[in-house]
Amino acid sequence: MALLDIVGLRVETPGTDGAPLPLVDGVTLTLERGGSLGLVGESGCGKSLTALAAIGLLPPGLRTRGRLALDGEDLVEAPERRLRQIRGRRLAMVFQEPMTALNPVRTIGSQVAEGPRRHLGLTRRQAREHARAVLDRVGLDPTRFPPTLYPHQLSGGQRQRVVIAIAVACGPEVLIADEPTTALDVATQARILDLINDLVDERDMALLMISHDLGVIAETAPRLSVMYAGRVVESGPTARVLAAPYHPYTRGLLGALPRGRGRPGAPLAAIPGVVPAPDRRPPGCAFTDRCPRSDTACRIAPALVADAHGQAVACHHPHDPEDGAP
């Protein structure tokens, strides 16, 4: 049984005409114990909402439907009381913005100690010691970065280490990292990714890595799912998907990566158009309007179909593996 099992997940907002409008529309993801999964897509494709739905912290007004289970236990209908026992203890999250994710008026030590004190039944003193050890583990040596520091005394990368310490402090089974490196400079990004990878290996956590950056996914997750306009359009082993994507959108994403071989000053490749707003999605395949291969068949939504290697695509006109990398 999968550790985190998401089947046909929908996140709905009440539409203007009363009919619920799906922001996330039938997403299916499975995360095995100790496994890693990447979730990639442009801003607004619903990847963060998927993560927030999984941990039960959607903004007010949004509702979750479909199946969402941790180790077989349903989380959609679970009472808030039960979810509070799971959040931070078994399911933890690293957020995107280290500058705002920490409380500016509390010390980093107290913010890390809060979870363990609550979930692990530690005394105040034990929780403080535990927080010190966790901060040390994420690279904040207590002799240089005592737990009595406040967030504003740290750099962005150091703050993100604190956010990671908060997430892993209770030894969760699932770690959801929502764009954990997006707000950081490139050199820091690499070190934070290494830290997350090391922690995941060492503690046997399952990782759901969310990013718009295929490079980040390639470094952290052996499997990935590509989301577009609230749906998964392609998924499979990361190496296969990146080497020979089936979906025109995945190809577009790969083609949009800036590479060293480009002539300086040459325009960057981009997918024409923008992700349609949830109330403007065309019927059928949502990528139709931006897709070079679309035709009338695309008015009917394609199902996600897997090949023999576990690479699945939702497209009526997938690329041939022989097309090679874009």
């Binding site: 509070r84 409380n103 509390r106 406040y150 005394q153 740290l154 150091q158």
Partner: protein, 321 residues
């Protein structure tokens, strides 16, 4: 922290100095001869001159300014023109009325406003929120003297629960003295509480949308726990500013409210001194009120530093990642 406090203390001293200069200059350019006021228009010229000399009015302005400020600093202030007693002797018993009145009003305002504001924010858009906001809108619009009269009509004239005005003095016992202060304190507090409740609501709403609240929830805290452990202290930072500002309005309000309730306090003394052109009392009182406001602002700055560590130490990071 020490550096921060030192800077604030210097600013406080400079403000008071500026206030004393402004008061002195304004009263200096106002027409009117205190000697003539005391002796009346029929007084003989040599009597007037003698009185001017005894009051020091014949000295140049700078000397009189230094004398006055020196007196303020050492407590040897001049005599009131109308009562002919030193100003400190006038102030003492009146401070014993106005001080407790202002404290009571402030306490009532905060005790009402903070819970209501937090409640309204937590129940945003629901009936509780709409009710609290509606009532507070009314409270903001109502002038405090009118509210004072209304309170007298209901609780003193109608229900006969509390006295309509006057002050029995603290020697009459704590009960009667406090009873005399409740209605005026309410009249002062309710409009302030209305404003403070609205500010509290918006401060809490702002905090509720912060990322660190989501981080707290992701640790397994409930809404209420996240608000209590992470939200309130952040929300207090704008609130303390407003409370400091409100204290000045409270002082101004006592002038009217003490007159409405015939309380022998500082506000009423100020009102009478202006009416009687008792300029000695007026200028000392203005400096006293300025000093009170200055000290309150100083306390506000200190509480900022206590609430927000970013003000306590510089921004410099320990090391770069």
């Amino acid at each position: 922290m020490a550096w921060f406090l030192a800077r604030r203390a210097v600013a406080l001293v400079l403000t008071l100095w500026a206030a004393s200069l402004v008061v002195f200059v304004v009263l200096e350019v106002l027409p009117g001869d205190p000697a003539l006021l005391i002796l009346g228009v029929g007084a003989r010229e040599d009597t007037l001159a003698a009185l001017r000399e005894s009051m020091g009015l014949d000295q140049p302005a700078w000397a009189r300014y230094l004398n006055w400020v020196g007196g303020l600093l050492t407590g040897h202030m001049a005599n009131s023109l109308t009562y002919d007693v030193p100003v400190p002797a006038l102030l003492g018993p009146r401070l014993a009325v106005s001080g407790p009145l202002a404290l009571l009003a402030l306490t009532l305002a905060v005790a009402l406003a903070l819970p209501l504001g937090v409640l309204a924010a937590a129940r945003r858009g629901r009936a509780t929120d709409v009710t609290v906001m509606g009532v507070s809108q009314l409270g903001v619009a109502v002038p405090n003297f009118w509210l004072g009269l209304l309170l007298v009509l209901v609780f003193a004239v109608g229900l006969r629960w509390l006295p309509s005005g006057g002050f029995p003095g603290w020697e009459a016992g704590l009960g009667p003295a406090l009873a005399a202060l409740i209605l005026p304190a309410l009249a002062l507090a309710l409009p302030q509480a209305a404003i403070l409740a609205r500010v509290t609501r918006s401060a809490v709403l702002e905090v509720l949308g912060e990322d660190y609240m989501r981080t707290a929830r992701a640790k397994g805290l409930s809404h209420a726990e996240a608000l209590w452990h992470h939200g309130l202290r952040n929300a207090m930072i704008p609130l303390v500013t407003i409370m400091g500002l409100q204290f000045s309005f409270l002082l101004a309000g006592t002038i009217i409210i003490e007159t409405v309730f015939t309380l022998p306090g500082i506000g009423r003394l100020m009102f009478q001194a202006i009416g009687q052109r008792d300029l000695v009392v007026v200028r000392d009182l203005v400096v006293l009120l300025a000093a009170t406001v200055g000290v309150v602002n100083f306390l506000v700055d200190v509480s900022y530093a206590l609430l927000d560590p970013r003000l306590r130490h510089g921004r410099a990071g320990v090391a770069d990642e």
